[in-house]
């Protein structure tokens, strides 16, 4: 038997779940899709005393558009999101990002909420939601907390969520969705974690001048890097090679990628430049078509 023994709880309602989390605090770990957490258990890198399995909470599997938001239940499977026509129609950026996550077989089970709480610095969902400036809803027996995505990722594999809290919903404000978008990434093989991934959104006016935009880079720091300063250079202008290069120097000024098994620091930075340029140009082309 691979994982160490644990007490297993399978609540069937949100209330029961929150009660359990309050009762056990640090002792308990939530299991959603299990695609990140079960490998950790199998290798005994973690030996929690209590496992709270939230897979019965089917109320947390939904995708809806209401009150000016696209709302995604935390337990929505990544594969469901990938195939959702609602998502394709409203947030094509997300549809473009999803096929990069692992493999069809892991997306069939992996959830949107699990990916966020796992907070891998090169994960696709955290990056896409960063460029969309989404919000996450955290619930406990005491309160409901809404956190902007920019405040959610603290460092490597660490999110701004307390042991007694459950992530229940992700909200993308419709107003944050821009017409031009692109999600690009480079990994050793399809389905591997990204070495670098970039997400971008742009809107352009009648004369092709950029009037708003966002750029987020993954794999170059402990959390997704949102480069607002870089975008500010492009605002009010038509993007030229020179202008983009200038913007990207600024975007990468503070980036602090690690050397690791997969890539050196320099390689990651160079890759970030190349991919960010590609993402900006693709987003710009699409913005022009959808003016």
């Amino acid at each position: 038997m691979k994982p160490a023994p644990f007490d297993y709880y399978r609540p069937s309602t949100l209330e029961e779940t929150l009660q359990l989390l309050t009762e056990f605090e640090e002792e308990a770990k939530i299991i959603a899709g299990g695609q990140s957490f079960i490998p950790i258990l199998n290798m005994r890198l973690s030996e929690p005393g209590v496992l709270v399995d939230i897979n019965q909470l089917s109320d947390l599997e939904y995708i809806t558009v209401e009150d000016g938001y696209l709302k995604i239940g935390a337990l929505t499977r990544q594969r469901t999101l990938e195939l959702s026509s609602l998502v394709q129609q409203h947030v094509p950026l997300l549809s473009e990002a999803l096929p990069f996550i692992g493999h069809l077989q892991t997306r069939n089970r992996g959830t949107v909420g699990g990916s966020l709480v796992h907070a891998d610095p090169s994960a696709e969902i955290p990056l896409a939601l960063s460029v969309l400036n989404a919000e996450v809803v955290l619930r406990s027996t005491e309160e409901i907390r809404t956190v902007e995505i920019g405040d959610f990722f603290l460092t490597y594999l660490t999110a701004n969520i307390l042991p007694h809290e459950l992530l229940t919903e992700i909200r993308i404000p419709s107003a944050n969705i821009l017409p031009g978008y692109a999600f690009v990434e480079f990994s050793r093989r399809h389905g591997d974690f990204a070495i670098v991934a970039v997400a971008s959104q742009l809107a352009a006016d009648q004369d092709g001048r950029i009037h708003s935009g966002r750029l987020a880079l993954g794999g170059i720091d402990a959390v997704p890097v949102v480069a607002d300063d870089a975008i500010n250079i492009l605002i009010g202008r038509q993007p030229t090679d020179e202008l983009i290069n200038q913007a990207l120097e600024l975007a990468l000024e503070d980036a602090d990628p690690d050397d690791d098994l997969h890539a050196s620091r320099e390689y990651r930075l160079q890759l970030a430049r190349v991919l960010a340029k590609r993402a900006l140009l693709t987003a710009y082309e699409r913005a022009l078509k959808r003016r």
Partner: protein, 163 residues
Amino acid sequence: MDKVLRDEKMVVRVSINGTVVEDTVEPRKLLSDFLRENCGLTGTHVGCEHGVCGACTVRVNGKAIRSCLMFAVQADGSEIVTVEGLAAEGRMHPLQQAFSECHALQCGFCTPGILMSSVELLEQAHVPDRHEIIEMLSGHLCRCTGYKGIVDAIEKVVGDKSQ
């Protein structure tokens, strides 16, 4: 709410390849080990045990998933199909036939998992192209064939189906 303490066992009732199976297991027992050890279905292979190789892929409620990344207790009440469930009445599934004809296997370690993912692909509404087949295969490691035979075999069955 279900609750099982660490040294207790829980009843798991599943349908495997059309037959209802009931047994009691510790909550930490992986579905892959349940299939092999409790059910004697050793066609489901176990390679890496952390989700990377795809050898342990089975279908749970129609979806291809890693059985090493799911606990047996989580499968309670579901319908499971393993590679043993593919052949019907002693006749190989068209995919198995095609794998044999296209030399899509050598040692056969990866084959059961690949077959189970491929069946899901075949059941989609649209006919998958070569690119989609390759993308599905990215979830499986084969150390023997170089993949060409595998892609050919799946493409052959997809082609036959679409005619």
